[in-house]
C-alpha cells in the first residue's frame, strides 16, 4: 500500500506543484485516493472484460440466428419459387402471355429475396471474420463473360448497352471463382441500377499498369455518378442507411461492403472513380496465377 516514502520538512507547507502532498494528512488522503482509484480501475476492467465476453457471445448468437433466419425464410421461398416455375413450365395447364409475364415477375422477386438473404449472411461473416475464399487458377475472361451474359437480358430490358473489352492473351487469375462472380454481378447490378436507358456499361479486363502481377477488371457506366463527398463512404457497411439524401435505391446496401472484403481476401484492391452526371468506374485487382510461384498454395480437389 504505502510505496512512497514521504519525508516531511518545512517545505511541506509550501505547495510545490498541484497534486503534490504537502502535509502528512494530505499525503495519506492521496494514498487512500490512489488505492481507491486502483480498486475502481480494476473493477472497471473486470466489467469491461465481462462486457466484451458478453458481446462476443451475443455476436455468435446473432450469427447463428441469421443462419436460422435465412434457412427458415428460404424454405417457404423455395416452395413458392418452385411452384411458380412449375406453372411457368406448363405443368399445370396452358398460360396466357400476361399470366406468363406476371409469374416471371414473381420468380424474379423470389430471386431478389434469395440474394438479399445471402448478402445478409455474408455481411455477418465479414463482421465476424468468417468470410473465406478458396482460390484456384481460373480464366478471368470466362468468369467475366459469364457475368456479362447473365446480366445481358436485364440490360437489354432496360435499354442499356452492355459490352466487354478483353485484353488478348490474359493469364489465369488465382481466384475463388464463385466469390469473384459475386463481386462482378454486384458491380454490374449497381451499374445497371444507376444507368438510364440509352446508357452504356463497359467491362474491361486486362493487366494492371501499376501492379504487373495483377489482373485488373473495371466496370464503367454512363450513369448519374457519385458526388465527391460520398465517394469515401460507399464501401462502408450500412452506407445505404447513412446516406444524407435518404432516397431508397433498393437492395440492402451490403454488396460493396462484401465485395471489398472478397477482394481484400484475394490480396487485391477495389476502388471507384466517378464524375457526377458522367458516370462511375469501379475497378478491382486480383492476383495472376503463376505456376512456378512457390509461395502460392493451390488447394487441390
Amino acid at each position: 500500500m504505502k510505496k512512497e516514502e514521504v519525508v516531511h520538512t518545512s517545505m511541506d507547507y509550501i505547495p510545490q506543484r498541484p497534486g503534490f502532498p504537502y502535509s502528512l494528512g494530505q499525503a495519506m488522503a492521496q494514498v487512500a485516493e490512489t488505492v481507491q482509484f486502483h480498486a475502481e480501475l480494476t473493477e472497471q476492467r473486470r466489467q469491461l472484460e465481462q462486457t466484451n465476453q458478453e458481446l462476443h457471445r451475443r455476436n455468435a448468437e446473432l450469427q447463428s440466428f441469421y443462419h436460422i433466419l435465412s434457412h427458415e425464410l428460404k424454405t417457404p421461398l423455395t416452395a413458392a419459387r418452385e411452384f411458380v416455375s412449375i406453372v411457368l413450365d406448363g405443368l399445370a395447364g396452358t398460360l396466357s402471355e400476361t399470366q406468363r409475364e406476371y409469374l416471371g415477375l414473381v420468380k424474379d422477386s423470389c430471386d431478389q429475396i434469395t440474394l438479399g438473404l445471402d448478402d445478409l449472411l455474408d455481411a455477418t461473416r465479414v463482421d465476424t471474420g468468417k468470410l473465406s475464399i478458396a482460390p484456384r487458377p481460373t480464366s478471368m475472361a470466362r468468369v467475366v463473360s459469364q457475368a456479362v451474359a447473365a446480366m445481358d437480358l436485364t440490360a437489354r430490358g432496360k435499354g442499356v448497352r452492355l459490352q466487354q473489352v478483353m485484353a488478348s492473351q490474359l493469364p489465369d487469375a488465382l481466384i475463388d471463382e464463385r466469390r469473384i462472380a459475386q463481386v462482378l454481378v454486384n458491380l454490374l447490378s449497381n451499374a445497371l441500377k444507376f444507368t438510364p436507358a440509352g446508357g452504356e456499361i463497359t467491362v474491361r479486363v486486362g493487366d494492371d499498369p501499376q501492379r504487373p502481377a495483377d489482373i485488373r477488371v473495371s466496370v464503367s457506366d454512363t450513369g448519374r455518378g457519385i458526388p465527391p463527398a460520398e465517394l469515401g463512404r460507399i464501401f462502408d457497411q450500412l452506407y445505404q442507411v447513412r446516406r444524407d439524401d435518404a432516397t431508397v435505391q433498393g437492395g440492402l446496401g451490403l454488396g460493396l461492403y462484401i465485395s471489398q472484403e472478397v477482394i481484400k481476401l484475394h490480396g487485391g484492391e477495389i476502388w471507384v472513380e466517378s464524375t457526377v452526371e458522367k458516370g462511375s468506374t469501379f475497378s478491382f485487382t486480383v492476383p495472376q496465377y503463376r505456376a512456378c510461384d512457390p509461395s502460392v498454395h493451390v488447394s487441390q480437389e
Partner: protein
C-alpha cells in the same frame, strides 16, 4: 424401366413440388418426411436414387444417406443433397460422402433434373472402382438462380 426416386424432405410443400417435377419427368416418386421413415421406405421400395434434404427432424441428411448406403440392399444407391442452409463446409462434406449432387435451395429445377438424369443414366463403374461406395463424380451446381456458374463435372 421407370426409375424410382425417394424424396426425403420435411417441408411438405417442397416435397410436393419435387414430386410434381419428378413425376412430370417420368419418374416414380416416394416421399419421406423424416429420417426414420426415409430408411424404412428405402428398404421397402429400393429406389434408384435418393434426393435428401440436409436438416430434418430425426437426423440430418448425411446420416440418413450413410445409414441407407450401409444397408446391403441399398449398396451404391446415388444420393443428391438439397439444403437451404448456408453453413460452410456442407458441399465438401457431400463431396466426401461421394454425393451425386449438391444443390442449394431455392434450387434450379432444370439443373436438378439434368443431374438426376445423368446420374441414373451413368453406367455403374463396379469393375473400375471397387473401393468407391457409390458413383464418385459430382455435378457441382449451385441452385442460386442468379448464379452464373454453369453446371460442370468436378472430378
Amino acid at each position: 424401366m421407370t426409375h424410382k426416386i425417394l424424396v426425403v424432405e420435411d417441408d411438405k410443400n417442397i416435397a410436393l413440388a419435387l414430386a410434381v417435377r419428378l413425376r412430370a419427368a417420368g419418374y416414380d416418386v416416394i416421399t419421406a418426411p423424416d429420417a426414420v421413415l426415409a430408411v424404412s421406405l428405402a428398404l421397402k421400395h429400393r429406389p434408384d436414387l435418393i434426393l435428401l434434404d440436409l436438416l430434418m427432424p430425426g437426423g440430418n441428411g448425411f446420416l440418413v444417406a450413410e445409414r441407407i448406403q450401409d444397408l446391403e440392399a441399398m449398396l451404391g444407391v446415388p444420393c443428391i443433397f438439397l439444403t437451404a442452409s448456408k453453413q460452410p463446409g456442407l458441399r465438401d462434406q457431400a463431396r466426401r460422402l461421394g454425393a451425386a449432387g449438391f444443390f442449394e435451395k431455392p434450387y434450379d429445377a432444370e439443373a436438378l433434373l439434368a443431374t438426376i438424369r445423368a446420374t441414373l443414366e451413368a453406367p455403374a463403374d463396379e469393375g473400375d472402382l471397387p473401393d468407391a461406395p457409390i458413383r464418385t463424380w459430382i455435378i457441382d451446381e449451385t441452385a442460386d438462380p442468379t448464379s452464373i456458374e454453369p453446371s460442370g463435372v468436378i472430378a
